[in-house]
Amino acid sequence: MKIFLYRFVSTLFLSAIILETVLRVFQLAGSTLPEVNHDGNRMLKPGIEGTWIKGGLGEVKSHYSINSQGWNSIIDFDEIDPLKTSIALIGDSYIQGLHVDVENSIGRLLESDSSDYFVHEYGRDGANIADFLMVYEAWVKGNYEYTFILVSNRNLNEFQPSFMNQGLSIPSESILRRVYNDSYLIRYLNINHGLLLKINSLFRDGPVFLQNSDSDSCIDLELVAGQVTIEEIFMGFDSTVVFVYQLGTVDTSLIENHRHLKVNHQVFPISYGFDGHWNLNGRINCANSIHTYIQSPMH
């Protein structure tokens, strides 16, 4: 047993050294985008740009650029062109679009559909319906001709904002955080492969036999957080707001009383299963669906 344990630990140690070296030399580890407290909101640090990495051997590598307002976009959102059709897109990581180059975000693709459009994308990973409402009230309401909010069940299950009004919750730079940032191996395992998320879900969800099999993907409409129900949150949006969704990812009964639009996937939305997010094709489909909606006289 001693020989085995010695060899096992040695193998792990040697693997860690080789992996750390390879990751450093080839710059394969992802990194956490720095955050700042911007008007009380937890925003990405304005002005930074670089390469966003996920997966093994740089499986997903894309260019990001954080604008002056803290959103991933090559344009600033400080002014609106009154001569063009103004469109606001609100959403989570799908709208934030780190999985493709920022130059090919849904907004830019939409602008390529018609030179008459200009689009601002208010997307933040992990955002939920509470964030969407606060974003809508802070920057969007009354400023744009069209507002589209991309929703899925994941967004509609949480009512506590994840980044709006959360500016004070940004952790200070601790020694542990510095070690984390300096270790390519730990960052690789955690950011590229979501190790912590997987471990968390293991302890949160527990064994399958402890779960109630009937509760899969159900949304409890009575779920209350701070006495707010999902219907009350929906009432905060104007009737002109269009909820965009992908078939199979949302309980459509929640949005059937509001304007809604299904993303029409005409080209493969996911290439090579790079996590659950859309690749460029998915964004093209989304942009085309919105374009078709705007052009349609029916709405």
Binding site: S15, K54, G273
Partner: protein, 482 residues
């Protein structure tokens, strides 16, 4: 619980430590093994544990009954009970809807609808594997090839042994049960070999199969949009995907068993280097093909009943083997194709040819003739995989039709995967072929010798696995569905 999941990463070290901690008491150790195995299976769905427990209880009792009763008639009745229960469970969970669907067409013709009889049945993971394992026990006891065991704990641990419970190798009681009943020791060389097998299995599963899976899924889902060369690429990739997926699982199972002091049978022996279909089936899923040989082919007469009945027997064994894989006509046709490919060598008496290794002549490269035969067998086997992978017979036919269109112009949109990924995948497949060839020629060996270089080899395997793990890898093993 999957071998390549995070939960198994916690499960195995804990069980490993507890297992060897309880090494002084065999009963305690086997109890731990049994509980661990039930926990492993119950993680997926605890309700189906009842099937394993029922199967265990019934076959254990029947085994004892076969010893107690002396009359041939009583013994036959007991064996029939075991067969009916095990095949009945398998038939209900796996094939009920298939038969309903298959016969519904005929009933609809007579104005009757059978849709109401179709049930929402969940297929219990690994049911095809453990029912065959317990069946082999009762058949062997019936044939007096094996003494029935009185040790219920060992028997239950044998049926539920977690390393091979859900996807084999399908172990024989004569091999595994005696190992359950004697004290195990952790030998350094065996443990090092176990770790190497686990890493090699994970390499095949994660680095090769999981990286080929998206391309295969994409091409088989959208086969009507792709050109001939992409369709060929899709099925070739699938040939390597299924091999690496399944043989990878078997290697991991054998490796874990070694860590626990057990020896499981080799399930794959470089099948894509076969020179005939007969040789392929002696090297592919060996535990299943030998099971069918011993418990179906030989009892119905095998090859000793004349040529025409022998041919019938060949078709029976291949069709049943296909049907074992799944309740779909595609698997039956897949089995039928292999029967058709096997029959010529059976008629000419060449089916037992090529029992030696391709490099038994100690040449670094195979002879030209052998090389051509290997290539031909690979092409034929790969062709049959189209049916195995397709969701329906009509899809398989359309896929084949697409290949023979010989179209090379781009489809309605550009090829969605970029060339860099394609090159990576081709390199991975080439790497596998070279390594396997070197293993056959014994230029290299998977067996470690407890030297420092072995630590480096293991570390490099760990690094490659971690570097090539896809973001959302397809965790499940293909053979879990069977």
């Amino acid at each position: 619980m999957l071998f390549n999941s995070i939960e198994f990463g916690f499960f195995l070290p804990i069980i490993f430590m507890l297992y060897w901690f309880t090494n002084r008491d065999l009963k305690l150790q086997n109890s731990l093994l049994l509980l661990a195995s039930y926990f492993f299976y119950g993680w997926w769905d605890w309700r189906f544990l009842s099937l394993i427990i029922a199967s265990t209880l019934i076959d254990y009792s029947i085994g004892l009954g076969l010893r107690r009763f002396k009359s041939r008639r009583s013994k036959k009745m007991l064996l029939s009970t075991s067969i009916i229960v095990n095949i009945g469970l398998l038939g209900f969970f796996k094939y009920f809807n298939f038969f309903i669907d298959s016969f519904s067409g005929a009933f609809t013709f007579f104005g009757q609808s059978m849709d109401e009889f179709t049930l929402k049945i969940v297929l219990p993971v690994g049911i095809s594997f453990y029912t065959f394992q317990t069946l082999s026990y009762t058949i062997d006891v019936y044939k007096s090839k094996l003494e029935p065991t009185k040790d219920f704990l060992s028997f239950a641990a044998f049926v539920a042994f977690f390393p091979q419970l859900v996807a084999g190798p399908i172990e024989r009681a004569s091999n595994l049960l005696p190992q359950m009943q004697k004290k195990r020791r952790l030998k350094p060389l065996n443990a090092a070999e176990g770790v190497r097998l686990i890493l090699w299995g994970l390499f095949k599963k994660i680095v090769i199969a999981d990286n080929l899976a998206p391309a295969v899924n994409d091409i088989f889902t959208n086969y009507n949009l792709y050109t001939s060369e992409v369709l060929v690429l899709g099925v070739v990739f699938f040939a390597f995907q299924i091999y690496c997926d399944f043989s990878g699982y078997s290697d991991i199972a054998r490796g874990i068993a070694k860590l626990l002091g057990f020896e499981l049978m080799v399930n794959f022996n470089f099948p894509y280097f076969s020179r005939s279909i007969g040789e392929f089936w002696r090297k592919w899923h060996i535990s299943l093909s030998t099971w069918f040989r011993d418990y179906l082919y030989i009892p119905i007469g095998g090859s000793k009943v004349g040529k025409s009945k022998g041919i019938r027997n060949v078709f029976i064994i291949f069709l049943v083997s296909g049907f074992w894989h799944g309740a779909n006509w595609t698997f039956i046709i897949w089995g039928g194709i292999h029967a058709l490919l096997f029959v010529p060598s059976y008629i000419s008496g060449n089916n037992r040819k090529y029992l030696n290794s391709i490099t038994s002549n100690r040449l670094l490269l195979p002879k030209f003739g052998d090389f051509v035969r290997i290539l031909c067998v690979f092409i034929l086997v790969t062709f049959s995989w189209i049916f195995f992978r397709s969701e329906s017979v009509s899809m398989a036919i359309e896929y084949i039709h697409g290949i023979f269109q010989f179209s090379i112009s781009p489809g309605p949109y550009l090829n969605p995967y970029d060339n860099q990924l394609l090159v990576q995948e081709l390199l991975l497949v080439s790497f596998l072929v070279i390594i396997e060839y070197l293993l056959i020629t014994r230029t290299i060996s998977l067996t470690p010798k407890l030297k420092s270089i072995d630590l480096v080899i293991d570390a490099v395997l760990v690094v490659m696995i971690l570097l090539k793990t896809p973001v959302s890898n397809n965790l499940s093993f293909i053979y879990f569905q069977f």
